[in-house]
C-alpha cells in the first residue's frame, strides 16, 4: 500500500524551512491559511505573513508590490480563486513584470469533493499555462510537492503550483524532481500514458493491469507543464503506438492540450486520447465517487489505452 499524505502539509512545512533559511520569504493568504497550511508559516514568522482576508485580487497585486521590493512571495488560496478570481492581477501585476511570486494553490480539481463545482478548479492549468512567463507545476504526491516548492524558490520568475485537497498516494521510485524534465516511471513500447497530479498514481495502477494483458505501457509523470518536456513527448510519439493523457482537469487547455500541441507538430502524429473532465462542471460527492463519475479511474485509463491501440 502506498503511503497517503497531504500535499498541503508538506507545503506548510517546506515554507517554514524556507522561512528559516531566507528572511526575504514572505507568505500571503486569503482567509484560508488553515486549509492551505500557510498557517504553519504564520505561526513561526507572524511578521512575514499577511492575511488579506477574502480579497484575492488585492492579495495578488500586493504580492507583486512586495516582489518589486526584493521579496520572494508565496501566495496561497484555493486554485479556483487563485487563477479565476484574480487572473488579471496575476497576468498584469505578477507575470508581465516577471516577479518572484510563487502561487501555490490548493484544493484543485474535483477531488475537492463535497464542496462541489463552485470550489472545484477544472480550468486552472489552462488559465495559468497561457501566461507567457508563468511556470506551471503539478506535483504527483506529497514528497514531490516539497521538491517543487524548493525548485520554485530557487528559480526566478512567477510559478503556479497546483496541489490537491485529499491525501495523495505516494509514488515510489520516481527519482529527483528536475523542473521541466518529465519522469519516466515505467518503460514500454506499446502505448504511453502521460499524467500529472493524482492521475499519475492511477496511471501506474492502469499500467500494472495492462501488463497482465501483455501490454507494456510507458508511464510519464509530466509534473511540469511549463516549460514542457517536449523531448519526452516526441519520443513517446515516435516509439509507442498511441498516447493517453490523464489529468484531473478539463480536457481543454490543460495537459492533454499541451501534449497535443507537441504531437500534432511532430513527424509522428500518433493517436491521442484524453482522460479528464469533458465539458462538464464537477459536483458534490466523495472524491473516489467523483473520480468514477467523471471517468478518471485506472479502469478508465485501461479502457482508453486499449482503444488507442485498436486502430
Amino acid at each position: 500500500m502506498a503511503e497517503m499524505l497531504y500535499q498541503r502539509d508538506i507545503y506548510g512545512k517546506t515554507l517554514v524551512e524556507l522561512g528559516r533559511q531566507d528572511k526575504n520569504v514572505v507568505v500571503l493568504d486569503a482567509d484560508l491559511s488553515s486549509s492551505t497550511r500557510t498557517a504553519l508559516f504564520a505561526k513561526e514568522f507572524p511578521e512575514r505573513f499577511f492575511n488579506f482576508g477574502i480579497a484575492e485580487q488585492n492579495m495578488m497585486a500586493a504580492a507583486a508590490g512586495l516582489a518589486s521590493c526584493g521579496k520572494t512571495v508565496f501566495v496561497s488560496t484555493f486554485a479556483v480563486f487563485a487563477t479565476g478570481r484574480a487572473w488579471d492581477q496575476v497576468r498584469n501585476s505578477i507575470a508581465y513584470n516577471n516577479f518572484q511570486v510563487k502561487i501555490v494553490a490548493t484544493h484543485a480539481g474535483i477531488t475537492v469533493g463535497p464542496d462541489g463545482a463552485s470550489h472545484q478548479a477544472i480550468a486552472d492549468i489552462a488559465l495559468m499555462r497561457v501566461i507567457p512567463t508563468m511556470k506551471v507545476v503539478v506535483p504527483c504526491d506529497a514528497p514531490q510537492t516539497r521538491e517543487a516548492i524548493i525548485s520554485a524558490y530557487r528559480h526566478s520568475g512567477p510559478f503556479y503550483i497546483r496541489l490537491g485537497r485529499p491525501k495523495f498516494p505516494t509514488v515510489e521510485g520516481k527519482g529527483e524532481f528536475v523542473l521541466g524534465k518529465a519522469q519516466i516511471l515505467r518503460d514500454g513500447f506499446d502505448a504511453t500514458i502521460i499524467a500529472c497530479g493524482i492521475m499519475v498514481f492511477e496511471a501506474l495502477v492502469a499500467a500494472d493491469e495492462l501488463l497482465k494483458k501483455g501490454i507494456q505501457v510507458r508511464v510519464i509523470n509530466m509534473h511540469t507543464l511549463r516549460p514542457l518536456d517536449t523531448q519526452a513527448i516526441l519520443e513517446a510519439a515516435s516509439r509507442t503506438k498511441g498516447i493517453v493523457v490523464c489529468e484531473e482537469h478539463s480536457v481543454i487547455g490543460g495537459l492533454a492540450s499541451a501534449v497535443d500541441e507537441v504531437v500534432s507538430q511532430s513527424s509522428n502524429p500518433v493517436r491521442l486520447l484524453r482522460i479528464g473532465l469533458k465539458e462538464r462542471f464537477g459536483q458534490s460527492g466523495e472524491p473516489a465517487d467523483l473520480m468514477k463519475e467523471y471517468h478518471l479511474t485506472s479502469a478508465d485509463i485501461v479502457t482508453a489505452v486499449l482503444r488507442v491501440l485498436e486502430r
Binding site: 511578521e47 482576508g53 512586495l66 518589486s68 521590493c69 488579471d88 508581465y96
Partner: protein
C-alpha cells in the same frame, strides 16, 4: 543627482509648464495616447518628483528610494516626461513613445528606468503600493510609497480591497493621490458611475483624507508634507483637477482623454504654453 531638490514655487510651475509642452509633443509624434489625464496630474507628479520623492536617476534601483507607482498607467506620457526631466534618460527618447521596440511602451513597463511596476489594467496599483509599503516596513528602510490613482479608476472593486487592507495594516508610509478631474472615457464620472461621496468613502475605510486644488503648487507641497506626518493610517490626497489642464481647448473636453493632438492642435497648444 539625489532628489528631492526642493525647487521654489516659481521653478516648480515652470517645470510643470515645460513638462506639459514636452508630453504634448511626444503624444503628437506618437499619434495616439492620453493627454487629458496626463495634463490634469502634471502639477501633482512634478511636485512629487522634484520636491518630495527620495530618488536617484543614476541609481534607479537604490533600495532606500521612495516608490512612485502610476496606477492610472495610461497617463505614462506624463511619467516618461518627468523621468526624462529628472535625468533617467534623454528627452530625445520621448519621441519614441509607442514605437516598435521602444522602451517607452503605450502603458508603463519595467523596461523603462524609473518604472517600478507595469500598470495599465486599472485598479491594481493601490494593491501594488500596499505591497511596497509592507516591504518597506519589513526591511526597515523607511521609504515611502506614492500611488497615483485616476478618479474613474476607483470604480474598480480591487481599489476598495486595497483601501480596506492598507488601513487594516496601518500603512502610514502609503500615500495615494487621486486625480479627481471628473471625466472618464465615456463622459463625466458623475454620469457614467458616480463616485461621490468620495472623501467620506476613504475616511470610512480608515484613511486620512485631505482635499486640495490639484493645480495649486503651494497647496500640493503642503499636502505632501501633511501626509508624511500622519501616523497609523494611510493618507489619500484628493486633488480636484481639470482634465486637459493648461491648454484651453483641451480643458474639460472628454475627447482628449485618449486622443493625441494633431500637429495643428499642438501648435496652438504650444502658443498657449509658451
Amino acid at each position: 543627482m539625489i532628489y528631492p531638490v526642493n525647487l521654489n514655487i516659481k521653478e516648480l510651475e515652470e517645470k510643470a509648464r515645460r513638462i506639459r509642452l514636452l508630453l504634448l509633443k511626444m503624444l503628437t509624434k506618437a499619434g495616439s495616447g492620453h493627454p487629458g489625464g496626463s495634463l490634469s496630474s502634471t502639477d501633482l507628479v512634478t511636485a512629487l518628483f522634484f520636491n518630495v520623492l527620495r530618488h536617484n536617476p543614476l541609481d534607479p534601483q537604490w533600495p532606500a528610494r521612495d516608490r512612485f507607482h502610476m496606477s492610472k498607467g495610461h497617463c505614462c506620457p506624463l511619467l516618461y516626461t518627468v523621468l526624462a526631466e529628472c535625468g533617467y534618460f534623454s528627452c530625445e527618447k520621448l519621441m519614441t513613445l509607442r514605437q516598435l521596440g521602444s522602451m517607452l511602451q503605450g502603458h508603463p513597463d519595467r523596461r523603462t528606468p524609473g518604472v517600478e511596476v507595469a500598470s495599465g489594467s486599472l485598479g491594481q496599483g493601490l494593491s501594488v503600493g500596499l505591497g511596497m509599503a509592507l516591504a518597506s516596513r519589513l526591511d526597515k528602510l523607511d521609504y515611502r510609497v506614492y500611488v497615483l490613482l485616476g478618479d474613474g479608476e476607483i470604480q474598480e472593486g480591487n481599489i476598495w480591497e486595497a483601501a480596506m487592507a492598507a488601513s487594516h495594516f496601518g500603512c502610514d508610509n502609503l500615500c495615494a493621490i487621486l486625480d479627481y478631474n471628473g471625466f472618464q472615457i465615456d463622459g463625466k464620472t458623475c454620469e457614467v458611475m458616480n463616485l461621490e461621496p468620495v472623501v467620506e468613502k476613504w475616511r470610512a475605510f480608515g484613511w486620512y483624507a485631505l482635499e486640495i486644488d490639484g493645480h495649486d503648487m503651494p497647496k500640493i507641497i503642503s499636502a505632501y508634507e501633511e501626509a508624511k506626518k500622519v501616523k497609523g493610517k494611510p493618507t489619500i490626497i484628493i486633488a480636484h483637477t481639470v482634465k486637459g489642464k493648461g491648454v484651453s481647448f483641451m480643458e474639460n473636453v472628454c475627447d482628449f482623454h485618449g486622443r493625441a493632438p494633431t500637429p495643428e492642435e499642438l501648435e496652438r497648444a504650444m502658443k498657449e504654453l509658451s
